[in-house]
């Protein structure tokens, strides 16, 4: 059995998850704290990938990441490589595709951080940054756990967007969902069964772990 696609998917999901936790932190903090009128606009943009068909998202990404697209052209000049049909392009696409699954839980967790606690921290000598890292972040760990698991799992199950911007290059963009699709197309049902079962069990285990951890957390 060729486990390359599974390994590639896990790599893609891990990198995407880490990047999204980094991006989701300032974005979630801003969304949770701001009184700006731009907040609903940004919230809508962040939530778009939930609603849009992956083909629509993939189509725009293809244009943006392609050699004629602004991001793609810039990347090409920088690295001499194309962003479409490459692992780097997949990472960018996945980050956009899974963005809401990281931002929403982080934002909810930050919303639950009480302003009064932050004020108390300031009066105890912590500046804003210090108070964020010593109060807001540790109080939001559950949100981060959920964000990590959801963005990881969602990226793992990604199909349409990958197909649009990544194609099917082994070792580069041939992730597990594409591999299964390919195997079914060519009537290799036994191989499709194996990969599908692995993904099914894995997805279930991840979700089970998340809900169990959440339950334990709540009981504490």
């Amino acid at each position: 059995m060729d486990l390359g696609p599974l390994w590639l998917s896990v790599q893609l999901a891990s990198i995407t998850m880490l990047l999204l936790l980094l991006i989701g932190t300032p974005l979630g903090w801003w969304l949770a704290r701001t009184r700006s009128r731009l907040r609903p606009v940004l919230q809508a943009i962040v939530a778009l990938p939930i609603v849009l068909p992956p083909t629509v998202l993939g189509f725009y990404l293809l244009i943006l990441l392609g050699p004629a697209g602004s991001l793609g052209e810039w990347w090409f000049r920088l690295s001499g490589e194309s962003l479409t049909f490459s692992f780097a392009g997949l990472v960018i696409a996945s980050c956009i595709y899974s963005l809401p699954f990281a931002v929403q839980p982080i934002m909810s967790a930050f919303e639950a951080v009480r302003q009064s606690d932050l004020e108390a921290a300031w009066t105890l000598g912590a500046d804003r940054r210090d108070a964020f890292f010593s109060i807001a972040l540790p109080q939001s760990l559950r949100g981060y756990l959920n964000a990590a698991i959801l963005s990881f799992a969602h990226t793992l199950g990604e199909f349409g967007v990958v197909l649009m911007v990544g194609g099917n290059i082994p070792g580069e963009t041939r992730v597990i969902s594409i591999a299964i699709y390919d195997q079914v197309e060519s009537l290799q049902y036994a191989a499709a069964h194996q990969l599908s079962a692995i993904l099914l069990v894995f997805a279930f285990a991840v979700l089970l772990a998340m809900f169990a951890l959440n339950r334990q957390w709540r009981q504490q």
């Binding site: 009480r114 009064s116 606690d117 004020e119 108390a120 921290a121 300031w122 009066t123 105890l124 000598g125 912590a126 500046d127 804003r128 210090d130 108070a131 010593s134 109060i135 540790p138 109080q139």
Partner: protein, 363 residues
């Protein structure tokens, strides 16, 4: 304009309908009470001093250091103050010890030895390993006070620290505040709308009314001021500092003497010679021309009327001099006219002993 032992401030800010306009010079010593009805601006004033409210164009000088002026304002974290909020605001993800150490770690001048002293002072040594969720309201507030003290503040701001507690919890905490006052030299600014707490703890008093300073000065001199009947309302009264001179075990009454007279109070209030502070509400003092006989009131004081002030609609406040001590009585306007009471008259004040509260704050 401010000297080393003082804090000088001038704040002007507008929040919707409410405007705060205060200019004060307050001593950086003892406990300064900030009294007023709800909505008078007490909390806003404390938050301004702490740097939690934006108040452009304001001024704050602490012991000659400029903390805020027209150009710049020190952020809250750089103000070296301790703040005790109405609610304890302990950090739920940290245990009691880590909560107390939070401010300590961020403070440049804290000696480790003081940790033990503060913990002992507030009686929280057995709580150190608990999480805030496992504390009672009174315990949590004591931890919050310890946390503020361990930040090595120049002074402590307390915003009705007892307001969220029931009567039993209040009387659990008050003794700790009294000990703090007696054993430490840290200046405290204590906001309350409860005049009993203020009289019990404070040395100085600021009265706020609708965003303005109605009065500011030494506690007793503000209490007996006659131009504040509307602001003080039922809080009108006076304090009286004396010593316990005797205890009558037969009737369980303590005799308290002060310059100007003596009073019998129920219960054994302390050891003979102990200092004791009473609060006597204006509502609990009545006047008569002659020494009444066959009265149930134990305490009769010979006094001279100093001043009379209308307290509309039906009553008047009368300031009395008993020796060097001042008292305030609230009588009806009708009684005053019937007895024809005038400043300078010698009368007898009847003081209900139950009106009398609280031990003085140690030596």
């Amino acid at each position: 304009m401010s000297s080393v032992g003082e804090i000088a401030l001038r704040y002007q800010l507008q929040r919707g309908d409410f405007s705060l306009q205060v200019a004060l010079q307050l001593p950086l010593s003892g406990i300064t009470g900030i009294f007023g009805a709800s909505g008078a601006g007490k909390t806003t004033l404390l938050r301004c001093i702490a740097g939690l409210e934006e108040a452009p164009g304001s001024e704050l000088l602490v012991a000659g250091e400029r903390w805020q002026d027209a150009i710049s304002s020190r952020p809250a974290h750089a103000r070296e103050i301790g703040y005790v909020f109405q609610e304890p605001r302990l950090f739920s993800h940290l245990d009691v010890r880590a909560n107390i150490e939070y401010g300590m770690r961020r403070s440049p001048r804290r000696e480790a030895a003081e940790f033990a002293a503060v913990i002992a002072l507030l009686g929280i040594d057995k709580l150190l390993d608990r999480k805030p969720a496992e504390l009672s309201g009174g315990e949590a507030q004591r931890v919050a006070i310890a946390r503020a003290l361990m930040r090595a503040p120049r002074f402590v701001l307390m915003d009705e620290p007892l307001a969220s507690l029931d009567a039993a919890r209040k009387s659990e905490i008050l003794p700790y505040l009294e000990r703090l006052h007696a054993e430490s030299s840290i200046p405290i600014f204590y906001v309350s709308h409860n005049i009993d707490e203020i009289c019990c703890l404070c040395d100085h008093l600021v009265v706020l009314d609708n965003g303005h300073v109605a009065a500011s000065g030494e506690l007793q001199s503000v209490l007996v001021r006659m131009d504040l009947p509307q602001v003080m309302g039922d809080a009108a009264g006076s304090i009286l500092d004396g010593r316990i001179a005797n205890f009558d075990a037969n009737y369980s009454l303590s005799l308290l003497t002060f310059a100007g007279g003596e009073l019998w109070l129920p219960g054994q209030l302390g050891n003979i010679g102990d200092r004791y502070r009473l609060r006597i509400r204006a509502n609990d003092v009545s006047l008569s021309r002659k020494r009444p006989r066959d009265t149930t009131v134990l305490n009769l004081l010979d006094v001279v009327i100093e001043a009379v002030q209308d307290a509309p609609p039906a009553t008047q406040l009368v300031r009395l001099l008993a020796g060097q001590q001042r008292l305030v009585a609230r009588i009806t306007r009708r009684s005053r006219e019937e007895l024809n009471l005038q400043p300078g008259d010698r009368v007898v004040a009847q003081v209900k002993a139950v009106a009398v509260r609280r031990p003085e704050l140690g030596e």
